[in-house]
Symmetry: C2
């Protein structure tokens, strides 16, 4: 009955974690480097207090983290906690020891993040070498605190919260673990950037790469060159005061901020204010469309370097981080090729082609960046001969190009495979490892007859510093940003932090679900804002049917949604904008189908599948009046109808598979497969991700002679 | 089928509003004074712009309201809107005319709020005499903007939003329309106070009465007497900078802030810092318990008045409003009676009793308040002979005492009947009118042989300025504050604003539901935070069953939950804290039962009821594992079991009522009624509000011979 009812509710009963559960079910994410679970627990109640000792305990980051700890623990338990910091190294409920004082500089690559956390005999001890480790350990501690489980009425478990007895030794696998956030294509206000930093810190990421300029908007105030934001932003930019505030906010949470100004391509928004920077005839406007656009900076104009010198100097002062990202990706050479003056310059300088001209530009830019005390970072394309080994390569092309750089002695980070805007499932990102060649890439190289790149030597491996997820904002806004980042970013964070061997997908998803809920206590809105958006769509009709319908839908993947019709002013207020990138229900259904097909005669499995399909069919029928009555929803009627038929066909397939008497005729097999294939295609911008599961059921019927 | 599926989802399909709907179904709340709906509409799309003209258009409140309008409209439609204010009085999509400049003083009682709003032929015109009217009209405009309805696929309605053609003439019935907010028993941070002000302004309330001190906490910084907050607040208080910020925030939204410092009772939190103010022997501590407590200020000590003079002077400068609330309620005279020095003073001054001593105190306080340029306000008890007519009475006792004051020439406002912390349904508050004697009060007076107070004369009616809802925070925190205020406060706001004749409960509930969703776009969290709280309770188990179970539960009403065990440090993190005061589903069920019993042979009605009961029964069974596995939820197992039995009994009653063959035997009738009565009683702090509906069904069976 429990299963039947759970199925009726569209749920699978989630395995309860308990102290007897296997340790990999503790809701920790990223998973620690080493961990052993013991029996017992430390209660967390209104008497909770903290002590802090050691030379590093006075660090402002540690002090403010402790203040935040009380607030967060209070929210996540509902227990009113006043900040209660006690004197004496061992007198608190949680005793924090931070051995060393940190250097006085801004947070640097390689600052140690190691910590250990021990919960034994009702006492909790967090030890760290340095302040950053204390910050990371506090997040782990907060994840450990869970409501006491109970064995039902009359159980002896006291109502409340506790942390299980455990010993954790933890440190990150990679030292550069980031998120690249595009705020140009749609502006993300400072408040949301800060909220994102909360999330990064919670899952132990340590870099926010702030993609501040692109064709569609110049998002930062320059006091030296104010026409940049005045003409390039539609008023949507960060003041320098806001930037300083965000940087301080990030520092308190152990997150570095690396600014990016994309040059010489992806630079249209510089040009309405300073058209002389451009290589084309102008006039220039802020770009509303997307893609690789033609506007380029003019690398042959000395005025370009004068302005860049002034601008980089200004930004180098504003941003304390040692790295400065100059973009450098996706240069389409048309404007250079069409400009006779630029062509003449190239001939004179013996620059054979646009690539050579970009290298020339990069070398000039490198001098400027270096003069202002920064290390230069750029996307793959900047990696050209004659650049010094100090530059850092961010690879959007993949392990092949990243490893090539590492072999040549360049440091690099991987972003390929971690693009969150492509709406791929968490498992897909989770499978990508900076140190492993993805099977598809290997296959492709083989097909192309190319050499499979050899493994890196231990020395070369050191050049791979880590990775960055990326969120490009063509089709997302501040409103649904959280839903595009979370929870999938937490799985990527685990890839960057946890040991290479941490690869279990089932464990990842189980922990991701709890982590996702936990992140909402930070104020992240991945669930609540989608609900709000669907309420807006439901208008005056009930919104619950839309919520249930949405739970088995996903947006189309990859670049399938990018079409001429989208510009940066297109409203992103449709159903596709209001659904999660990955459907939990569909993922589980696929697992259940696999289980069923492994053991088709288990009547419980079949019954569960049948109940899911029945419920989804009813939901899709129930949502019809809501879709019919609202002008923004009518486009989704076809999805609802396809879902109804798909579920019906799936149930028929189950009937055939369950029955020993009756075989499906060829006509049914053909009709059903074709129907399920149609249902599996895109419906506008929406997919029905249960289609593959139903297809598998039909194939199983078809396999019966 | 549509109904069956809707029932399966626990829903009633909400009647879609359309331009052909009766006008009282437009989602406006409070309902305007006069309105006529016409055919047609004005589209609201990304070209939306505003013009502002007239002498009052330059008022900062109007200018910032227009800036906010773009942001809010953008959120509520999902259409990206940049602030687009055009020159010329008639060139915008929305053309605002504000005839007069306002006086330069702080917002005053009686400042006109009148406006008219016309949507005709695709143009929108908002006219107001003065800035406040423009603010009120903008809220009405925002409520009018709804998604275009559609007649399904292929419908000609263009996808998007519009405002229907309409003419509205509007002004408030009462000039004082407020919320009294207790921030002492549980502290409400400034951020939440500002969010509450957003909500007040949205439903056209114009006073936030800030109850800043009480026994459980002194919540404001005094620079003159810093021991007040240092010893009286546990660090939970507003700095003066925060207070100024909140006041400015409220002014921008047309909301006055009236501070209250409750004296001489409800004043424990003054005394840890300044024990000499007290009438007892001390020592004093911040009070953790609730109720009418014994600590009183000493009205016989000249030092009391010296401190109060200094303190009131400081606060009078900080708070610009003309009114200053001195509390004055619930004085329990024990400390005065027990203190020989105070008794001697009373004899000397010929003060017969504690009441007379309090009047003496009030008269001294009045002089202080007046000296600092303020009008004094107090609760009923301050109304004693010899006080001047300038004071304002806030009545928590009811119309009888309010009218008495009005007859004597005192101005007054009503709070009795509007206590939101008592968890009553919106309809109950909505039925209370400052100008009408509630039937129960009339009955009680008749039973007691007392005179029924006569209606007020037109002149006396002018002394009734309006009313204030009140939210006392014994059992609420910042976390669930919004859920206790909204949406019920919107129904009270309608009572204060709309014509006396606006009393239709069905219309109110229909509009309240849409208004409730609309309010969430302001950032209010009445839905989202309850979900978050239930997720916390669900722990690692699925939370959806808990959401569904919670939808047919309500907290106990009135003071039923106040018991010894609650103090201001008790965690308010249980299921009762995480459910809405009023169950939508239960309200509708009761209506459907009434409908069914009026026409018992309508099989559709019976089927609907049966489906609801079946679903709730299944939900209550499905939630059992969640309740069993979490230590904070086991206390609710009895509710789930009672709900299962109740639904079963309800279905049996329907079976008897539907069948012509079979009659229930006396045993069934008795067993069932007793079961349903038990289910209708409190289960811990929780009620099952569908019990009365099931009882009605059983009674109908019992009525069959």
């Amino acid at each position: 009955l429990k299963n039947r009812l759970a199925a009726l509710l569209g749920l699978v009963v989630f395995p309860a974690f308990s102290q007897s559960s296997p340790p990999d079910q503790l809701p920790l994410m990223p998973w620690p480097a080493a961990l052993s679970v013991q029996s017992g627990s430390a209660p967390i109640d209104s008497s909770f207090s903290v002590s802090a000792a050691g030379a590093g305990a006075a660090d402002p980051r540690v002090k403010t983290a402790i203040q935040r700890l009380f607030i967060r623990l209070s929210r996540q338990t509902g227990v009113p906690l006043l900040p209660h910091v006690v004197a004496g190294a061992e007198n608190g409920t949680l005793n924090i020891v931070v051995e060393q004082k940190d250097h006085a500089s801004p947070q640097r690559l390689g600052d140690t993040e190691r910590y250990s956390l021990k919960v034994t005999e009702g006492r909790i001890r967090l030890s760290a070498d340095a302040p950053l480790g204390a910050l990371r350990g506090i997040e782990t501690f907060l994840q450990l605190v869970q409501q006491n489980s109970s064995a039902g009425a009359g159980s002896s478990a006291s109502p409340g919260f506790s942390a299980p007895s455990i010993v954790i030794q933890d440190e990150p696998r990679f030292e550069w673990r980031g998120l690249s956030l595009d705020v140009s294509r749609h502006f993300i206000p400072a408040e949301e950037v800060k909220r994102t930093i909360d999330g990064l810190a919670a899952v132990k990421l340590n870099v926010l790469h702030w993609h501040l300029s692109d064709d569609q908007g110049f998002r930062i105030e320059s006091k030296k060159y104010p026409r940049l934001q005045q003409y390039g932003s539609n008023g949507l930019f960060y003041t320098q005061a806001e930037v300083r505030d965000v940087i301080a906010y990030a520092r308190e949470r152990g997150v570095r901020i690396v600014p990016e100004f994309d040059m010489p391509g992806h630079a249209t928004s510089w040009l309405p204010g300073y058209p002389k920077l451009g290589s084309g005839p102008g006039p220039y406007e802020i770009e509303r469309g997307h893609g690789i656009l033609s506007a380029l900076m003019d690398p042959t104009n000395e005025g370009t370097y004068r302005l860049l010198n002034g601008f980089v100097g200004e930004m180098a002062k504003l941003f304390p981080d040692e790295y400065f990202h100059i973009g450098g990706d996706e240069v389409s050479p048309k404007e250079w090729n069409d400009n006779p003056r630029i062509q003449a310059f190239m001939r004179k300088q013996h620059l054979a082609d646009a690539k050579a001209l970009q290298t020339y530009f990069n070398q000039r830019l490198l001098k400027i960046v270096t003069r202002h005390g920064k290390k230069m970072e750029g996307w793959d394309e900047v990696l050209q001969p004659d650049l010094p080994k100090t530059i850092l390569i961010q690879s959007w092309r993949g392990q092949e190009s990243l490893w090539q750089a590492a072999r040549e002695g360049y440091k690099g980070i991987l972003s390929a495979g971690y693009y969150l805007d492509l709406m791929q499932p968490a498992s897909q990102h989770y499978a990508i490892d900076p140190m492993k060649l993805p099977p598809e890439m290997q296959k492709r190289l083989e097909q192309q007859g190319k050499t499979i790149p050899p493994e890196l030597t231990p020395e070369q491996r050191k050049n791979v510093l880590g990775g960055e997820a990326a969120m490009w904002e063509e089709l997302a806004t501040a409103e649904n940003l959280d839903t595009r980042l979370w929870p999938r970013l937490a799985a990527i964070a685990e890839r960057f932090w946890s040991p290479e061997s941490t690869t279990g997908v089932a464990s990842m998803y189980a922990r991701l679900e709890v982590t996702n809920r936990w992140l909402e206590w930070l104020g992240l809105t991945q669930r609540s804002n989608l609900e709000l958006m669907r309420q807006r769509l439901a208008g005056k009709a009930p919104y619950q049917p839309l919520d249930r319908f949405a739970s088995v839908l996903e947006p189309v993947k990859g670049y399938a949604r990018h079409a001429e019709k989208y510009t940066s002013t297109t409203p992103l207020n449709r159903l596709v904008d209001s659904i999660a990138p990955e459907s939990e229900a569909a993922r589980r259904f696929r697992d259940e189908v696999d289980q069923y097909l492994t053991a088709p005669k288990n009547p419980g499995n079949a019954e569960l599948l049948r109940q899911h399909l029945t419920l989804w069919q009813e939901d899709a029928a129930a949502v019809r009046p809501v879709l019919e009555s609202n002008s923004l929803l009518t486009e989704n009627l076809a999805v609802a109808d396809a879902l109804v038929s798909l579920c019906q066909t799936g149930k028929e397939a189950l009937d055939y598979l369950d029955s020993t008497k009756q075989n499906a005729d060829a006509g049914w097999k053909q009709r059903s497969m074709s129907l399920a294939e149609e249902a599996g295609k895109r419906h506008g911008d929406i997919l029905i991700p249960i289609a593959p599961g139903v297809q598998a059921l039909i194939q199983a019927v078809a396999a019966v002679p």
